[in-house]
């Protein structure tokens, strides 16, 4: 019986690359592709894949919250997180969310097959940096990184994090209500609670909070040095 894999990434071109990579492996099949976290959860419930590969930086519902919700629904889901950065904070959040694999997108062509094989053999797969961090936590505290130390999101509920992401992506309360199938009034209440809990005073503050805490990710433009002879058209 084939190992069934669900892919979740908002870039179709990345999904095509991942598909091409995974389907070369005999005995594996990509059973579904999702372009955001919300769709990934729906598809995972329907398709019951053996492995779910989620990008962290997805719109509507990021990969970390997708992982949390998937494992809350069924703790047997095996999730590999794909990320563009392996900062300590991202690593801690991914582990805390329950991911069993952690692969840098830049290294996916090299590491992803090994990661899926590890999960297939009921093992975990992490990059060397994650292993170092886990080991350091173990040596310091006598145990692996504690699940009781989430970084900066201690006070928000799962629903509040969803609302935070959608507001930070620029959606109005009405649009958030439509996405989450809630009333606008309920969204407004969540919004007030979020602002109060986090001591924020504006949507701008909320966006900054969302970026700092990896709820949304942004791509910075390169520092461009223009040649002196360049003229504007």
């Amino acid at each position: 019986m084939k190992l069934r894999i669900l892919l979740a990434d908002d870039h179709e071109i990345v999904r095509r690359g991942l598909c091409a990579l995974l389907q070369k492996h005999e005995g594996w099949e990509v059973c579904g592709e999702a372009s955001d976290g919300r769709q990934a959860i729906e598809m995972a419930k329907q398709l019951k894949p053996d492995v779910v590969i989620v990008d962290i930086g997805m719109p509507h519902l990021n990969g970390l919250d997708t992982t949390r919700q998937l494992l809350q629904y069924d703790p047997n889901f095996k999730v590999i997180v794909l990320t563009i950065t392996d900062s300590d904070q991202i690593i801690r959040e991914a582990l805390d969310a329950g991911a069993r694999g952690f692969v840098l997108k830049s290294d996916a062509a090299r590491d992803l097959v090994s990661a899926v094989e590890a999960l297939q053999s009921k093992r975990m797969f992490f990059t060397p940096r994650v292993n170092d961090l886990v080991l350091a936590g173990f040596l310091e505290k006598g145990h692996a990184i504690s699940r009781n130390e989430p970084p900066n999101l201690p006070t928000l509920t799962a629903r509040e994090r969803e609302v935070t992401q959608l507001l930070a992506e620029g959606k109005s309360s009405k649009e958030v209500a439509t996405v989450l199938n809630l009333s606008t009034k309920t969204v407004e209440t969540h919004r007030s609670n979020i602002m109060r809990k986090l001591s924020l005073h504006s949507i701008r503050d909320l966006v900054v909070y969302a970026i700092k805490n990896n709820i949304i990710q942004i791509q910075m433009p390169p520092q461009v040095q223009r040649p002196t002879e360049t003229t504007m058209a």
């Binding site: 908002d10 870039h11 179709e12 071109i13 999904r15 095509r16 690359g17 990579l21 390169p222």
Partner: protein, 138 residues
Amino acid sequence: MAVRILLVDDHPIVRQGLRTLLEGRPGWEVVGEASDGIEALEKVESLQPDVVVLDITMPRMNGLEACRLIQRKTKASSLEVLVVTQHDSPQMMREALEAGARGYVVKSNAARDLLEAVEAVSQHRVFTAMARGPQGSY
């Protein structure tokens, strides 16, 4: 029409996705890959592609710098550069066109726009498409 293409992106998985898409087109050939701007310059010289599909945010040398240098090096040739980037920004598109790119496609829509864009730039037509705005080929 035969088109020889060089892919430049620092993520192998993105190059694989682009390759899968482009190689489905009869007559088009991905002749090489590069993972940053410096490697792109070397491969442009050695492989002489017709079209360079170029990412912007890359280590060592970003795509805008690479594009300018490719244009300087290949003034007399018919090589064209198509930028494929995450930056869904009119300002970045303008920078890319000023650097000498003939086309600009946003990565989130690459699966939709890439084939049309490569076809356009290989015929020396401009192709630009933002993720949310109108696209144009002229």
